[in-house]
């Protein structure tokens, strides 16, 4: 019987195996019968790590190995013992130890780092369903067994402790050699009851260090068309932290006209319901004071003249600093946990800013008031949905093919000689919105009336955005129209008009483009906007926060 002892020069002889205690002999018999393990066991120098007091006895399993007997409960001594052990081992056998050690991760790593590249680590642990035969700890075999193992859970610990790119698994199997499956649970089973794992240490691949960042897609190329650069040398941190202060004192500004006030009534009621115990002070136009007091919502109502009661009586210019000073005088030293301005238009935010308050809330559709701690961006259709008409004359366009007059560009009948681009321009900015663009192109008098097609494309922002391209038909009696959707404000808008190459065209005149911005219906009613702001306040302030910026 050769027992697959690896190389003929293997230090593990039959006589050595025969001299081992029965349990140890059966284990070694199993291991040397596995070629991958047998080869590993023969490596030198070798280390055999055992647990002090383990039932398998104190004799080493390998005749050529240095024996380290460790106290599983003394991590410092384990570390010291491994530190003192030979480095660059070809074989380390850890037998009946791992299940006793609490910090398996550090222990496995320490053993692994004692291996030479090409060296092998052999770990033998009792099998949960051969020795323990129990679903979870505590062990019925030994109180020193902290964990149970299956091949899967053993491998889980190995992969956690060791970099998977630095080892290859060479062998993993259950060892039930001579095991008696008929043994009752309350009896100690006979035969082998182990898991044997063998892995080989590999040289660390060059790509190993790149794995962590391989999918983060960072590039060190500086500058971008779309993103401003970051000054990495001067980091600024923004910290958003909880504000646990109560909302006990609230100031409401509603200083506009009677109709505006009436439309805010629902918002007032929502606010009161959200903060039933708060003291709420209202500042309103003096003409709304009686109405406000009759609502029985506010603890205090203060009249303050900002707009004229009758706006039809003439435009009155408002000195904002003076108005803010008057408001401060009216409020005295009072400070508030929350001050909210329910005017949807933003011409009263200056007043709000002058109020002493921990939190300020209001509408900010144009992103102008970053100091507001509660900002609601609700489109105001009257201001933002306004239709506009913009006539861009041909003089704003460039051409090589056409012949200019003061206002127009004329294109003579025939094929284009200089190329297919007829006119391009006007490099203007355009507000976000939906536009109908009329191309002011007309057939020249006397030209044949047969319709013909021209091509166009539209780009913006330095030709980085293509907004549209296509064909349009030129016919006598009407101007072609093209729809343009600008989903954001556009800069440096370029419109190119082109002819198909070598196509014969009648004579025509280009007078420019007429942009008509369509009415936007993107809005809510004023009363709804104010109600939304009132609803937003308790949501935001339930988990209120402050921000700070520090280097």
């Amino acid at each position: 019987m050769t027992l697959g002892l690896g190389k003929p020069s293997s230090p593990i002889s039959l006589s050595w195996l025969d001299a081992l205690p029965a349990g140890a002999r059966d284990l070694m018999t199993f291991m040397v019968a596995q070629p991958a393990v047998a080869q590993a066991l023969g490596g030198m120098p070798a280390l055999n790590i055992r647990a002090k007091g383990a039932p398998a006895g104190t004799a080493p399993l390998l005749p050529h190995a240095s024996l380290i007997a460790i106290d599983p409960d003394d991590p410092d001594r384990i570390r010291d013992a491994l530190h003192a052990a030979d480095a660059a081992c070809q074989c380390i056998l850890v037998h009946d130890v791992l299940q006793r050690i609490e910090d398996y991760r550090s222990f496995l790593a320490a053993c692994f780092h004692k291996l030479a590249v090409g060296g092998q680590l052999i770990v033998v642990v009792p099998h949960q369903f051969l020795l323990e035969r129990k679903l979870q700890v505590p062990s019925r075999v030994s109180p020193t067994h902290r964990r149970f193992y299956t091949p899967g859970s053993l491998l889980t610990e190995i992969e956690e402790a060791l970099d998977p790119s630095e080892f290859r698994l060479r062998f993993l199997a259950d060892n039930d050699l001579g095991y008696d499956y008929a043994t009752r649970l309350d009896r100690m089973p006979s035969g082998c009851h182990d898991i044997v794992l063998c892995l080989e240490r590999m040289a660390r691949p060059v790509w190993s260090d790149q794995l962590a960042n391989a999918e983060r897609h960072a590039t060190t190329s500086k500058g971008s068309m779309e993103l401003p650069p970051v000054d990495a040398a001067a980091p600024v941190y923004r910290v958003i932290m909880p504000d646990h202060g109560a909302i006990a004192r609230i100031l409401v500004l509603k200083v506009d006209h009677r109709g505006d006030f009436l439309m805010a009534t629902r918002a007032f009621r929502i606010l009161r319901a959200a903060f039933p115990a708060a003291s709420i002070t209202l500042v309103c136009g003096p003409w709304n004071r009686a109405e406000a007091e009759a609502l029985d919502i506010f603890d205090r109502v203060l009249g303050f003249e900002f707009f004229a009661e009758d706006a039809s009586a003439g435009v009155r210019s408002v000195d904002m600093d003076e108005a803010a000073a008057r408001l401060q005088a009216l409020l005295g030293d009072a400070s508030y946990d929350l001050a909210v301005d329910f005017r949807v238009y933003d011409d009263t935010r200056r007043l709000l800013r002058s109020v002493k308050a921990r939190h300020r809330a209001g509408f900010d559709p144009h992103d102008r008031f970053p100091w507001l701690s509660v900002r609601l961006n609700v489109p105001a259709a009257t201001q933002m949905g306004r239709p506009t008409h913009l006539l861009v004359p041909a003089s704003e366009f460039q051409t090589r093919e056409g012949e200019r007059t003061a206002a127009d560009i004329f294109f003579a009948r025939g094929r284009r000689k200089g190329g297919d681009h007829l006119a391009w321009g006007p490099y203007i900015s355009l507000r976000q919105g939906r536009y109908l663009v009329e191309l002011l192109i007309e057939l020249l008098p006397g030209a044949r009336g047969k319709p013909f097609e021209l091509l166009y494309d539209i780009v913006s922002d330095g030709a980085t955005k293509l907004l549209g391209r296509g064909r349009f038909v030129v016919a006598r009696g009407h101007h072609p129209q093209v729809a343009l959707e600008a989903d954001e404000d556009l800069a440096y808008l370029e419109w190119r008009i082109m002819a198909e190459r070598s196509k014969r065209l009648p004579g025509f005149r280009f007078a420019g483009l007429a942009f008509t911005r369509q009415v936007s219906s993107l809005a809510v009613h004023q009363s709804e906007a104010m109600a939304l702001l009132a609803h937003l306040l308790p949501i935001r302030l339930e988990a209120a926060f402050n921000t700070s910026e520090t280097a």
Binding site: A212, R216, I240
Partner: protein, 173 residues
Amino acid sequence: MTPQALETVVVAPFANERLREWPIGHFQRYIELVLRDEPARVLVVGTRAQRVRANALVRDFPATRVVNACGTMGWDDVVTTIDSAASVVTNNSGIGHLAAARGRWTLCVFAASHAWLEWMPRGPRVVVITRAVPCAPCEIADNPCPNAIACMDGLAPDVAFERFRRIRSGDHH
């Protein structure tokens, strides 16, 4: 100190976009600081697919203090774990929103890919820290970052740990 006496600090180092993730090395440093200064064990949570990456995070720490729980818990278990945690450290991710909603002390290291006011976790014990960079919010998702992900790589774990510690202790300055 017995292990039973240790509080749990939950670390959720993953997010649906890699750009939103603090580098593993930063999480490692944060865990070092926790182990140094707090009577706590660290529980790393994530999905089964994230377990191998979490192994790289926990590998250099003792198994007695830092546990890789990725893939071992269902959502209900995660909720229970969060509820008993002393604090939770996350990226801009679902676990951050969970911890915030459950009222736990939550540190969210927030990438500049998204607007913090729009997406940050909200709750009474949430601290969000982000780099105030001019390129935020970029929403470049998995496209290359021309600024070498300065918002996350340059968000120092020592600063985050210290600010979070001070705010929890009532020092907001």
